[in-house]
Amino acid sequence: MHVVPDTMSKATTPPLLQMRGITKEFGPISALSGVDLDVYPGEVHALMGENGAGKSTLMKVLSGAHARTAGTIWVDGREIDIRGPDHAKALGISIIYQELSLAPNLSVAENMLLGREITRFGLLDRAAMHRNCAGILNDLGVDFDATDKVSTLSLAQRQQVEIARALLADCRILVMDEPTTSLSSKECENLFALIHRLRDQGLAIIYISHRMDEIYALSDRVTVLRDGRYIGCIERENLSEQRLVQMMVGRDASTFYQKQHSPAPFSEVLLSVQNVGDGARVFGASFDLRAGEVLGIAGIVGAGRTELARLIYGADPKTAGQVTLDGQGLRIGNPLDAIHAGIVYLTEDRKGEGLFLDMSVSANVNMATMDRDGRGLGLLDGAKAKARTLDAIESMRIAVSGPETKVGSLSGGNQQKVLLARLLQTNPKVLILDEPTRGVDIGAKSEIYHLIEKLAAQGSGIVVISSELPELVGISDRILVMREGRIAGEVGGTSDMPIDAETIIALATGSVAKNETFARG
């Protein structure tokens, strides 16, 4: 791929921040390998890449949260070894994360001066603190006071407090990680105006976003990362959507796992989801799942994929919509109802929401089916449970010493298999698998792919949510793309859109013109 050298036009002024060959390894896994980034004063520099491309890791290295494994960082032309978050702050580097880090019960000024409060005779000098902050707040043109309690402010206002706090700390490099995620379009406009003003004052701004329109509206240059590698840096003049998407996707999906079978296109509809929503994060989602079909759901993190799955499974209450299985309307109020109906859900958070780490493999595998295997009066049938566990250990090739091994001591791949084994004990008709291969080694990954394929061949309907596009493209018969809580489009199947990563990214980031129609099945 042709890549523009990134030292072109700004050569006259030296970069404020230079990162060269930044490498970060977590044990055997390298999250970043040899990434370069140059940021000049007075520019908005966008950082783009798929989920897991390494943007956050790079910013954590910059902020001192992670120590880099290799590479060099210059600030103002001086080689710097960033020792920690405090050191980064002293160097003028501030990061505003998606989850704002303000203390809601303190005032705006107290938050801005957290850790370096102004005191007189050991007591807080509130008047001085407020005076100190009022100036910066005034410059920002905000519509609240330094004395206001943060808990009374809107999300957009709190963001402004964070920006003000960074400016008060003499910030010169400001990193914003998807700042518009929860803002209204009016609030976004205000934020953009503010970012432009700050840029014109000479601040260097690193802007992380998935939204193509924001990249267009804001950025002077765009650096693209992929799989922890530096792919290239594009000047504003050369910005093209197609090119960005290509750089972000890059790899050749055809070398990835490809499923063997294509489903009977007219097999019966197994699961029908109609206008399901929760009024906050998922809106009017509708789709059909056929027997034997593997339906992928793509979308950036926060697009509402997991939320939709949880609504279908009854893990969260839905406020609208209907779920039909085998032509029968279901009333699902909790996960137990879903399991009884034949729908199971594999959580994306294996340790937090899936497994009982202190309990045995056997207890974990049989957790959802103890009643069925019981001997009346709630007594457990230990022999049956053990037999089922041994069965699962063998058929899924779980590497454990025995059914009584604690799950917490297993590797990620084996833990995932244990969790899958639990779902399969219930003989489900529909499986919703949320990030089924996250944190799983290559070998277990391919076994999970084959399992999915086998289950589909046996007539189950399978929904796979994944942030790994090549994986999704490889195993799905059809893919729904979600954006901002809605199903934004569909590729494959009866739609005329091809199953490829470029199309999916375009849909997920909203870069496809809105008036383009999708043939929906």
């Binding site: 499974y313 893990a315 909790n334 996960p335 137990l336 879903a338 399991i339 009884h340 859900y345 959580t347 937090g352 929401e353 899936g354 497994l355 009982f356 780490l357 202190d358 309990m359 207890a363 957790m367 959802a368 103890m370 009643d371 019981g374 009066l377 709630g378 007594l379 457990l380 230990g382 604690k406 917490g408 001591s409 639990r422």
Partner: protein
């Protein structure tokens, strides 16, 4: 070399882990036997054989003294295994004892005092459970509230007076069952046995561990979390009610003000000494039994060797902290601490 040390360390840790607090209990017993003998004879040589601590009579007294706390601690084990806490057991014990004795005074009802007392305890446990399971209030707050409110209720029941029944029809429960062992001891052991059966051999037992280990995962795997929570708080109330009946048989009376004061603390101490994790999901009922015995042995032994009341408190407290510190070390090598 380093490997060898590490392996030995691991092996040591594994064996400590399997035995739990049993070695501590035995060590304390042997120590009291020695010290009691020394106090009596003044001779180190004859101290061990002439000690009174390990005599059959004294052991049976210890077992009886441990019985009520064991029963309360069994209920507390259920609750703590789910990650909760029940601070109200002492107050529930007092209220249940009041109900039991008052019911036994009604002509012709006599023995009905037992189910009345236990039933009242279950009812109060159900209120706790309902507030935790349905109103989703923190167990600490709920039971801290009922600790106070039920104490008031216990006083209200007898118009703030002690109720007596010298003819208590179930007074025989504090008498000997066989071989000089009290019925109270038998009841306590039966409670431990039934608790063990529930925790080890029923779906409910597995679910109690599951809810304590990972409540979100429990819900997602189709467990009715509210059923489990209701069960543990009702069980704790049931056992506190049973404890109330048991204490009424020893006193032939019940008093809303003093009865059961601070019992919840001994019960919690027993559970924690038994190695049950305070955050839930890990622990055994046998550990709790050993914990309750350690507390009883300490009280009995310290009196036996003539330690003053003041020092008894200090020593008991330090032993609890020391034992739990040992427990931290014990759990260090395992999956989660």
């Amino acid at each position: 070399m380093v490997d060898d040390v590490a392996r030995r360390k691991r092996a040591l840790r594994a064996s400590i882990q399997a035995l739990g607090m049993l070695p501590v209990l035995l060590l304390i017993c042997l120590m009291f036997q020695f010290l009691s003998g020394m106090a009596a004879t003044g001779s180190i040589v004859e101290a061990f054989q002439s000690g009174r601590f390990l005599s059959p009579q004294n052991l049976s007294i210890i077992a009886q003294q441990a019985s009520i706390n064991t029963v309360l601690a069994a209920g507390m084990t259920f609750v703590i295994l789910t990650g909760g806490i029940d601070l109200s057991v002492g107050s529930i014990l007092a209220a249940s004892a009041m109900v039991a004795v008052m019911t036994s005074l009604i002509p012709g009802w006599g023995m009905m005092g037992i189910p009345a007392g236990i039933g009242f305890g279950m009812l109060l446990g159900a209120v706790n459970g309902g507030l935790v399971a349905f109103a989703k209030l923190p167990p600490f707050i709920v039971t801290l509230g009922s600790l106070t409110a039920v104490r008031g209720l216990a006083r209200l029941l007898g118009n703030d007076k002690t109720v007596f029944n010298s003819e208590l029809p179930f007074a025989g429960l504090s008498g000997p069952a066989f071989l000089g062992i009290s019925w109270l001891t038998v009841i306590a052991f039966a409670v431990i046995l039934v608790s063990w059966l529930i925790l080890r051999f029923t779906a409910l037992g597995v679910r109690i561990y599951a809810v304590g280990g990972n409540e979100v995962a429990a819900r997602l795997s189709g467990i009715k979390v509210w059923v489990v929570l209701m069960f543990v708080y009702v069980a704790s109330g049931f056992l506190a009610g049973l404890g109330g009946v048991m204490s009424s048989t020893r006193l032939l009376a019940a008093n809303g003000v003093q009865l059961g004061q601070a019992y919840e603390l001994d019960a919690i101490a027993a559970v924690i000494l038994g190695g049950t994790s305070f955050v839930g999901g890990v622990g055994t009922i046998w550990g709790t039994l050993i914990g309750a015995l350690i507390i009883a042995v300490l009280s009995n032994g310290l009196i036996l060797i003539g330690v003053s009341d003041v020092w008894q408190f200090i020593i008991k407290g330090l032993v609890i902290i020391g034992a739990v510190a040992l427990d931290r070390y014990r759990l260090n090598g395992s999956v989660r601490t």
